[in-house]
């Protein structure tokens, strides 16, 4: 005993590990067994935000006590209780054999996976395997898919939006949720949605639509001065009613289950409507704030926008724009007009893209790094 200190029973909020140790951090560690795997570890780390990567100049052409100390350090570092799980990445021909290192880490009671670059077939395949390990099987019913159209044209309501509606029906059939938004762009089509809703849900939809029109009355403006936009009109859209009838196709044909305020999280599964403006970025932000993990965005004129935290899949309404803005587009619904694909085929492609994006595939807007964010204001600053 020194200085008379006694136990107080103090505790901390930590992480209890299966092997009986306690961590004060909860890292996922990416560890190369050899310096030849450093770059792949870094690249996996860039694609899986939140993991911790280390790189080092050791693991090959080592012998004796020096090699033993290297192995002991790697295994011990990886088994530290502050680490919840480890991915060992090896090359395949190194002295410090990656599977043996993983076995040693596992023997210390740590969760560990191991992949090899030579065995995986090269850099990209190893990265893909490493990224895939960070993911686990999740049901499509857990997805909330936001739908959006921006830069619409006369083909939006004929190709891309009905194809997206087909995909929306598939998401709902899986038990998932689809958000239809852009309330001003449902003016003139609300009766079609209300006919597919319970009485209280229909009443709320009519109330929100009336709110849009009341705003136009209060300002003594024709909505058409701002929506359809000049670009929409150049593309052939004449009135808000016409734009709305085409836009409403995005939600598919299932029952309307719920009507949400801006950025409100759905309580129901299935098709829901959210009160957002037609302004692309405010809408995108509202749907993602409401829980959408994936967004599908149809466009006729060509809108590059994307979200900082959710993949946004771009569907072109016409082939000319798809070709002109190839780097910004993911799916060409113009193929329906060209007669090369059916609406159902494009709908299946969009559904496939939704699942692939959920698996980690990056649509163009994500690869290009778009990170648009804007909050819809409903009153002035004071």
């Amino acid at each position: 005993m020194s200085n008379g200190a006694t136990a107080s029973g103090a505790t901390f909020k930590g992480y209890r590990r299966a092997n009986g140790t306690f961590g004060v951090r909860n890292h996922v560690l990416l560890l190369p067994s050899v310096m030849c795997a450093n770059h792949v570890v870094d690249l996996i780390g860039r694609k899986v935000p939140g993991v911790v990567t280390v790189t080092h100049p050791t693991g090959c052409a080592q012998v004796g006590a020096d090699f033993e100390q290297t192995k002991r350090t790697m295994a011990g570092f990886a088994a530290n209780p502050n680490v919840g799980a480890v991915l060992v990445v090896g090359l395949g021909c190194e002295t410090n054999e990656s599977k043996a290192l993983a076995d040693e880490i596992r023997a210390r009671g740590q969760r560990v996976e191991v992949i090899g670059i030579q065995e995986s077939g090269g850099t990209s395949e190893t990265i893909a395997r490493g990224v895939a390990l960070a993911r686990t099987d999740c049901p499509v019913s857990a997805l909330i898919v936001g739908t959006e159209c921006g830069g619409s044209d006369g083909f939006s309501g004929i190709t891309a939006n009905p194809a997206l509606g087909f995909a929306s029906d598939r998401v709902v059939a899986e038990g998932g949720t689809v958000i239809l938004a852009e309330l001003p762009e449902l003016v003139g089509a609300e009766h079609l949605l209300a006919a597919r809703a319970s009485e209280p849900v229909a009443a709320k939809l009519y109330e929100l639509i009336e709110r849009v029109e009341a705003r136009a009355r209060a300002m003594h403006v024709d909505i058409r001065y701002g929506n359809p936009t000049q670009g929409n009109m150049a593309g052939g859209l004449t009135t808000i009613e016409e734009k709305s009838l085409g836009a409403a196709y995005k939600g598919g044909s299932t029952e309307l289950r719920e009507v949400l305020e801006y950025a409100e999280r759905p309580a129901e599964r299935g098709l829901v409507v959210m009160d957002t403006p037609g302004q692309d970025i405010e809408q995108l932000t509202g749907m993602v704030a409401g829980g959408a993990q994936v967004v599908v965005f149809t466009t006729g004129r060509g809108t590059p926008t994307g979200c900082p935290i959710a993949p946004v899949i771009k569907v072109a309404t016409n082939t000319a724009m798809f070709e002109r803005m190839r780097e910004n587009m993911d799916v060409n619904a113009g193929a329906i007009l060209d007669g090369t694909r059916t609406l159902e085929q494009v709908g299946d492609e969009i559904f496939g893209w939704i699942v692939e994006a959920a698996n980690g595939r990056e649509p163009a807007a994500e690869t290009l790094g778009f990170h648009d964010f804007a909050i819809n204001r409903i009153g002035p600053s004071f």
């Binding site: 006369g154 004929i158 003016v187 004449t238 009135t239 016409e242 059916t342």
Partner: protein, 109 residues
């Protein structure tokens, strides 16, 4: 079944140049740029275009009286602001919206 469009409820003109979304619509959509004088056939009906119709834009498939409601998708998309002849371009110059017309609201005192 044809590879083009989803279905029978979207009648295509005979040469595929235009699409009428519902049989009873007042307008059809040009699927490529159409020139004045071009004939578009929907079965027995032949429509001679009076105007150039840009791709994605609409033309009248029957005469529309000034003030009459105009239908596309089998639904109302607006009102004719002047009389429109069969084959004429149907757009902002001769169609006005019915909904969202705050400009027509009575000014309160």
């Amino acid at each position: 079944m044809t590879g083009r469009f989803l279905a029978s409820h979207m009648p295509l003109s005979d040469d595929g140049a235009a699409l009428r979304l519902k049989d009873n619509d007042d307008v059809a959509v040009a699927l490529r740029p159409l020139a004045p004088g071009e004939e578009v056939r929907f079965g027995a009906q032949s429509i001679a275009l009076c105007d150039a119709i840009p791709s994605g834009h609409k033309f009248a498939t029957r005469p529309i009286a000034a003030g009459a409601l105009i239908h596309k998708y089998g639904q109302m998309i607006g009102r004719a602001s002047s009389a429109i002849a069969t084959g004429q371009h149907v757009h902002v110059h001769n169609v006005e919206g019915v909904r969202g017309r705050g400009d027509l609201a009575e000014t309160s005192a």
